[in-house]
Amino acid sequence: MKGAAGRLIPLFALVCALACTCASTAMATDGSNAERVQRGKYLATAGDCVACHTAPGGKPFAGGLPLPTPIGDIIATNITPSKTAGIGNYTERQFSDALRRGIRADGRHLYPAMPYTAYAQITDADMQALYAYFMHGVAPVDSKPAPTRLPFPFNLRWSMAAWNMLFLDSKPFTPDPGKSAAWNRGAYLVRGLAHCSTCHTPRNLLMAEQPSRELAGGDVGTWHAPNITPDADSGIGNWSEAELVAYIKLGHATGRAQAAGPMAEAVDNSLQYLTAADLQAIATYLKTIPAQHDPADTRAVDDWGSASDELDSLRGVALPVDPDKMTGAQLYDAYCASCHQARGQGSFDGGLPPLFHNTATGRTNTNNLVMVILDGIRWTDRSGVHMPGFANHLDDRQIATLAAYLIRHYGNPAAKVSVEQVRQLRAGGAPSHLVALVRWAMAIVLLVILAIVILSVRRMRRRSSGQA
């Protein structure tokens, strides 16, 4: 920031901060403020702020977590009330702008990795509660994480202004009077704080969500966030509301699906703490959005496979010395059957789930199957959910062979897993061409503009020379 404005604005901010501090000190004596902070805490949990704004092993909300995107890593900021490294100087208005319009206190734009397009739905009252929580309910941490540095042209934050004009709907949520209170609450949570569409809605070339395909499925790095519309085959159409609630709260719907990867984190950090009413509201809403059908799904993704084994090929047969020559059945026996049982039927209590009638094996998009074999599933709390990852035990060929066995017995036979796919997923995903694409596009546009200018200049010269 340069010039007089550069001097005034920090001063102005300081005065505001002082005013706010005085105001909040005054408010601290007000009993209802404690209530507001508590409500803000619940809302922050629902919004899962901690998932992005906390680095592994780091202090809560102190930032530093790099979010991988096709255009580079975006580093989450410190949103503790630290005055030197966080948002301690933010007014409520500045907080609201960051949260709901994607604009920082210094006026610069946030990248939509911060899901402000979803948080734009948050009501004023809820925003105020969140502000109260972040100012008074969170411990300040005075360490500033590394700044985000994206490649040209994505480092030009002002370009987000144009993007926002195209894609940001900045009106907070207004209830639909024709719908029930539960539906409205569910719509508010799903579209707003829980920001489900950030992962579950496919995006266009400019990386904006496609509103006509709400929750039809998207990709989050190496993980696929599946279709959660009420389509009977591709989505959750044949799930009961109780099953949806169970999945969101516990991270699994018995006999259908288990949350893994980023969804497991979302349940672990956020969704499991929602009230029963809120969980029910989300389920109610999800059952009403337009169903999106993928023609590749000829039956429900959780309806494939059956209990089966190839034990006859295993018993009495020595393992090959070369691990890459192990058959799918041998790999399953050695690494999977101990928990999932010899016929894929899972444990007595279903706590170690069966592998058939399971979305983990039934989808035609097989990325999640490979990812869960590589990474396992582990919650941070004491729920006991813990599938080990096999990235250090199985190589790419073994995982491809094993996945083929799992699909053949327990999944959709049309689905495929290739060794190259495993290799790429293990490495963090296929490299994105978006940066190159945009640069080429810009170069072409510049060339076109240049060509137009040159041609116009020549034409003007010819006219003027013609008139001489």
Binding site: L331, D333, A334, C339, W379, R382, H386, M387, P388
Partner: protein, 548 residues
């Protein structure tokens, strides 16, 4: 191929004890090299090998010996590696592979009770240790937090800080024992290196009931995890390296070790400090093998005690049918025991013991019995279900006193690499036999309280081996009667240390692994005392283990 390998610290043996000592030293900045005689193993392949084994009752079946690093196996027949000179057999089982024998243990991770280290002063038997329980206490705590120990309070071993984890969930069968034996016998949850929640990046137990020979899900801590932790701290490990000689210089300092690769190519490895951690049989064997002109009786053996005072925890047992369905086999193999008989004035007269209840599925035993009895037809399944539901077993875990005539020596027979095989000379003394006799009354009472029928005592004079190889390189203050000092340093060689259950001068009644780990961490701490802020990296270290 011999490129000259060298490190500040050379560790022989990659079992749980050697690996955790190596790790601690690497974290303090030393360059550390582990030489392991056997190969790397893969957990999934061991599981598959067990399922394909025709000898499910033999826990060594999924661990076939390597030709260059044989270990003893007895099923289907004795492979003749560990020679038995008698009068009583010492059929030890151990694994020469990366990670060592704790690939297949029941993860019992007990501390001693304070009196265990003073039985000479207190009871006039055995010897006193050259250190106190209080000195061991912080090392026990560090070991427990490193490997993740789940335990119940009040089992006779005082502690200053809580266990890292709650006791493992009690199986129904054990609950019934606890309820029905009270108040005569308090049954408590075993102190185990088994996860009762996610710990150290490994899942909680899910009841595979195959702890021995293999935990398929890595819920119990093993040498494999210790090796991984060591390598993550910068320790370098060379597998398939059979050390056959320890070389000393003219002053008696250890200069190098020599090892064979599987093709019998010889390699020399130099270092500044050497740690011998190759279990209580292979370590004394190596010391004896390294005899030279200057040390004709072997290294570290001016006392003549290397290999002597061989001890274990022998067991006798009672099998019977309880009068209710208990169905052993649900949950981990060794969940509960009675700990009130480990200490007391009686120790001047007879051996103390622990009483251990097994939760190993009885289906295999019962099926073998029925086949032997010739029960054919529809009756087979009926009997199988009835017996498997009710058959239970209680065994004692008896203390053995150190006796110099019980020892490991070098056999005249050689293995495939031309290295002399170890030979066991062993007998069970009267002190222990008297303890076994006394315990019969406990067995009978326990059976009575459980409405027992079909009582089958183990044969008189027959003791089962429990693989707790102790005493062969005993620690003590006097070089004339011990091999190492209180810090595990050999009296004879300033830069040679021993980390092993073999340094324990008495056996007590508890499985020896945790004590050996605690001693090894103390030894590592002595080799490289912390120079910087003492508690910080240690606390970070243990916090990391707890959090992941």
């Amino acid at each position: 191929m011999s490129g000259q390998l060298s490190a500040d610290i050379v560790v022989i043996g990659s079992g749980i004890v050697g690996s955790l000592a190596a790790r601690r030293l690497a974290l303090r900045g030393a360059s550390v090299l582990i030489l392991e005689a056997g190969p790397r193993l893969d957990r999934g392949r061991v599981v598959a090998a067990f399922r394909n084994s025709p000898f499910k009752g033999s826990w060594m079946a999924p661990y076939p010996p390597s030709p260059w690093a044989p270990h003893p196996i007895y099923v289907p027949r004795d492979n003749g590696y560990l020679k038995q000179a008698g009068p009583y057999p010492y059929p030890a089982e151990y694994i020469r592979a990366v990670g060592g024998t704790t690939w297949h243990w029941a993860a019992q991770a007990w501390r001693l009770v304070p009196n265990d280290v003073r039985i000479k002063s207190l009871y006039g038997v055995g010897v006193d240790w050259p250190l106190s329980y209080e000195e061991l206490d912080p090392w026990y705590q560090e070991a427990e937090e490193l490997i993740g120990v789940a335990g119940a309070d009040d089992t006779g071993s005082p502690r200053k800080q809580p266990f890292p984890m709650e006791p493992v969930a009690e199986p129904w069968s054990m609950r019934r024992f606890r309820e029905r034996l009270a108040p005569a016998y308090p049954v408590v949850a075993n102190t185990v290196a088994r996860n009762s929640r996610s710990y150290g990046g490994r899942p909680a137990c899910v009841g595979n009931n195959s702890c021995q020979p293999i935990c398929p899900v890595n819920a119990q801590y093993t040498g494999e995890t210790a090796v991984a932790a060591a390598e993550a701290s910068g320790v370098r490990l060379v597998p398939n390296a059979v050390v056959y000689r320890i070389e000393h210089d003219a002053k008696g300092r250890i200069a190098a070790v020599h090892y064979f690769d599987p093709d019998k190519g010889s390699h020399r490895v130099t270092g500044k400090t050497f740690i011998l951690a190759a279990n209580g049989i292979e370590s004394p064997k190596l010391l004896l093998l390294s005899a030279s002109d200057k040390y004709p009786n072997g290294l570290a053996n001016s006392s003549g005690m290397v290999g002597r005072n061989l001890m274990d925890h022998p067991s006798t047992s009672l099998t019977f049918y309880a009068d209710e369905e208990l169905w052993l086999g649900r949950g981990p193999q060794s969940p509960s025991s009675i700990n009130t008989l480990r200490d007391g004035a009686f120790r001047s007269r007879h051996a103390p013991y622990r009483l251990d209840f097994t939760n190993i599925s009885q289906v295999l035993n019962v099926t073998n019995d029925l086949i032997k009895e010739g029960v054919y037809g529809a009756e087979f399944e009926k009997q199988l279900r009835w017996r498997a539901a009710r058959q239970v077993n209680v065994k004692n875990v008896l203390e053995v006193l150190p006796d110099p005539d019980n020892r490991i020596t070098l056999s005249s027979e050689k293995d495939a690499m031309g290295i002399p095989k170890p030979e066991a000379h062993y007998s069970i003394g009267e002190y222990t036999r008297r303890g076994a006799d006394v315990s019969r009354a406990d067995f009978a009472r326990i059976a009575e309280l459980m409405g027992g029928t079909g009582l089958r005592y183990s044969a008189d004079g027959q003791f089962a081996n429990n693989q707790h190889i102790t005493g062969t390189m005993s620690m003590g203050n006097a070089p004339s009667s011990s091999v190492v000092d209180a810090f595990g340093r050999t009296h004879d060689h300033e830069n040679l240390f021993i980390c092993s259950t073999g340094v324990m001068p008495t056996a007590a009644t508890m499985n020896s692994t945790l004590t050996a780990i605690a001693l090894a961490l103390r030894t590592a701490g002595h080799i490289l005392p912390q120079q910087t802020t003492t508690q910080t990296d240690l606390a970070d270290d243990r916090r990391e283990a707890r959090l992941s």
